[in-house]
């Protein structure tokens, strides 16, 4: 599924960020493919806010549609 389909409050794992520049930028902010994150807020039709420890990042909806993720629950790794 894509990041745009996530529900607020859910934990997930980043599987694929196709855009080179975006991948580099998120890598610097602390998020890479394989990172475990939480969806902190979802603005209707707007950005998805993801949280990693104390780091919050707003990701525009179109961009979120391109990012592949997988839901993550305790125990499944």
């Amino acid at each position: 599924m894509t990041l745009a389909e996530i529900q607020k409050g859910k934990d997930f794992k980043v599987k694929n960020i196709p855009d080179d520049m975006i991948r580099i930028q998120t890598l610097r902010m602390g998020i890479s493919e394989g990172s475990k994150l939480n969806c902190n807020e979802k603005i209707p039709g707007g950005p998805v806010i993801v949280k990693h420890n104390y780091q919050e990042i707003a990701i525009g909806r179109r961009l979120a549609e391109d990012i592949q993720i997988e839901l993550f629950t305790e125990g499944s790794d």
Binding site: D20, M21, I22, R23, I24, Q25, T26, L27, R28, M29, G30, S32, N40, E41, I43, P44, G45, G46, P47, I49, H52, N53, Y54, Q55, E56, I57, A58, I59, G60, R61, R62, L63
Partner: protein, 615 residues
């Protein structure tokens, strides 16, 4: 001394060792800079950018500040400037936010990988503690291989310790694989320093071309390795004692949730309007422009200059005439614009330092997407209500040329500046609610339609929102005032000469009779199509010079309610003032600016005429 050539753009003593402050955005770098340098600070503009570089002296060192960046590369102006200064550094003081280790240590590790002597200031230790984060400092020192000093800069803690240990900065433990180390050595045979070589290895075209080399493509490999190493370090040294959310976090989440965030945003915008639109634009400007500049300064300067130059000569008109460089220009800049611009920057600095600005950007992102912009564009759009000239300069922060064109066009077309807003509000209020609503809806519709249209026809793709939301913090007054001062000063230096040139241009047009000629030519159109009296033409012509002049010119005419509405719509949509135009030429080139100018004429008269037909 290495790569000194890159800094010949700014004026510093090359014989001294350079200490460079580096950190992510919002880590409190400026406090460190002020502490170290105290006095002897000079601020110079970095050529080709809007960025100012502060430099000062500390002991036998030259201290240089850099813009906040997430890493060393060449993705935007901030990064390019930071990169050049970092490459020239002898010692790097890296300021790290203790709450955001995973993000900030990436930059730290990159600096270490560049083979620079580094010392780390681990700032905001108090906040980390109050969030229940425990950091093993000894282990961090050992892992990084450099000195780490804990600080709470806002409370002046740890700064003395840092300044006493700067000379202990050293090269740390790198994250590069042995293969990359080998490649690095190969490149360094040509560049003679590992910092430049690493950036070339990481694909930096700019640095590569400096040495007549081709950039290599190992960025992702190196970045991934670096990210993994940083994650391991953080896992090693960080313990979460308890997971308590601070009040800041709770406020932060309220500001983001649309249900609470939108009402809060509206309330804040209302305060902004009360502060800028009412207090500054009316009360304060009433004193600075009317009483001080027009009442006291102008008679004085006219009296003084007329001793040497005849008021009726062309030079006299240029200097102290109706649009004189020493009269109108000075009054306009210091009496009207300075209070408005400073007020706006003050408000904006609060929004920035409290961490609210990026949250507003996230909230409005969706709406701005329809116009081919992303949430970031809210900054120039808000500033536009202060001064379109000032806002046009800030469009540089947008991600692509396409977004800059759209933003500049919308600013020029449909955002009334505060100087003009005051006059418009005064004229429309007596007409009643119905006219007010028609006015607002018309302007908003033009804004939305123009943006949507440009988004459709302009080639390419706009960038998407990707921003870091800093924690919500109580801003410090000292920092707010410092930001306001620096930005206002920069604006006056940037726009001042442009206003003066515009004033000279208008005086020449007027004296040459061209202004009168235009007035005669457009008059039939004004009467026939807009159904306005011939005299309004003069108000419109004045609007080319200063938008509020145009609106104020309507004040003295006897217009019906319908005519007032049409003329206000026209004057709002009408061409940007001469200073904004000149800034647009500077930013986008003559062709682009001319299109905005002609587009505004067309939109203003087309929309004005349509409204005139229907009401």
């Amino acid at each position: 001394m290495q790569s000194c050539h890159k800094l010949d753009k700014i004026n510093i003593d090359e014989s001294k060792e350079k200490v460079v402050l580096v950190g992510n955005p919002n880590v409190g770098k400026s406090i460190f800079f002020n502490y170290l340098t105290d006095s002897y600070v000079s601020v110079s503009n970095y050529p080709g950018t809007t960025l100012d570089i502060s430099s000062g002296e500390f002991k036998d060192y030259i201290v240089l500040d850099t813009p906040g960046v997430y890493g060393v590369s060449s993705f935007n102006d901030e990064e390019k400037v930071a990169r050049d200064i970092i490459l020239s550094a002898d010692i790097i003081v890296n300021i790290v936010d203790a709450v955001h280790l995973e993000r900030d240590l990436f930059l730290t590790q990159q600096l270490i990988d560049m083979d620079k002597k580094v010392i780390v200031a681990l700032n905001m230790m108090d906040e980390a503690r109050s969030r229940g984060l425990e950091i093993d400092l000894e282990k961090l020192k050992e892992d990084l291989g450099v000195e780490v000093i804990p600080t709470v800069a806002v409370d002046n803690k740890g700064l003395a310790m840092l300044s006493d240990t700067i000379h202990n900065a050293k090269k740390g433990n790198k994250s590069l694989s042995s293969e990359m180390e080998e490649r690095l050595e190969d490149i360094s045979e040509k560049t003679e320093n590992n910092a430049d070589s690493l950036l070339i290895l990481e694909g930096d075209q700019y640095v590569a071309s400096h040495f007549n080399l081709e950039a290599l493509d190992f960025r992702e490999e190196i970045y991934n390795k670096r990210r993994n190493r940083v994650n391991n370090i953080v896992e090693n040294i960080l313990t979460k004692v308890e997971n308590n959310n601070s009040i800041g976090d709770k406020i932060g989440s309220l500001l983001l949730k649309p249900l609470t965030g939108i009402p809060i945003l509206l309330v804040i915008l209302y305060f902004l309007y009360q502060f800028i639109g009412v207090f500054v634009a009316q009360t304060l400007v009433g004193i600075t422009e009317e009483t001080i500049m027009i009442g006291m300064y102008e008679p004085f300067i006219i009296d003084l200059v007329s001793n040497f130059v005849s008021t009726n000569s062309l030079l006299g008109k240029i200097l102290i005439g109706e649009f004189g460089v020493l009269t109108m220009t000075v009054t306009y800049i210091f009496g009207l614009l300075l209070p408005l611009v400073a007020g706006f920057y003050f408000f904006l600095a609060i929004l920035e330092d409290s961490g609210y600005m990026p949250r507003i950007a996230a909230l409005v992102d969706r709406g701005l997407n329809y116009l081919g912009l992303n949430g970031r564009a809210i900054i120039p759009m808000l500033l536009g209500f202060g001064c379109v000239t000032m806002a046009t300069v800030t469009t540089r922060l947008l991600g692509s040329k396409r977004e800059k064109i759209i933003a500049i066009f919308l600013l020029g077309l449909a955002i009334p500046c505060s100087a003009q807003l005051g006059v418009i509000a005064g004229l429309i209020a007596p007409l009643g609610l119905k006219y007010f609503i028609i006015y607002v809806i018309t302007i908003f519709a033009v804004y939305a339609i123009a943006g949507t249209f440009l988004n459709k026809v302009l080639p390419g793709k706009s960038t998407d929102l990707l921003i870091d939301l800093p924690p919500v913090r109580l801003p410090r007054l000292k920092n707010i005032l410092r930001k306001t001062y620096l930005k206002s000063k920069y604006f006056i230096f940037e726009a001042g000469p442009i206003f003066a040139m515009g004033a000279i241009g208008i005086t020449l047009l007027k004296e040459g009779g061209i202004l009168y000629w235009i007035q005669e030519k457009v008059a039939p159109f004004i009467v026939g199509w807009l159904k306005l009296p011939k005299e309004t033409t003069e108000a419109f012509i004045m609007g080319i010079i200063r938008r509020d002049f145009g609106a104020a010119g309507l004040n003295s005419l006897a217009l019906t309610s319908d005519q007032t509405l049409v003329s206000l719509i026209v004057i709002t949509l009408f061409v940007p003032c001469i200073a904004a135009m000149l800034v647009m030429i500077k930013e986008q080139g003559f062709k682009q600016a001319l299109m905005v100018w002609l587009g505004s004429w067309f939109a203003a008269f087309a929309v004005g005429g349509i409204v005139a037909l229907f009401i």
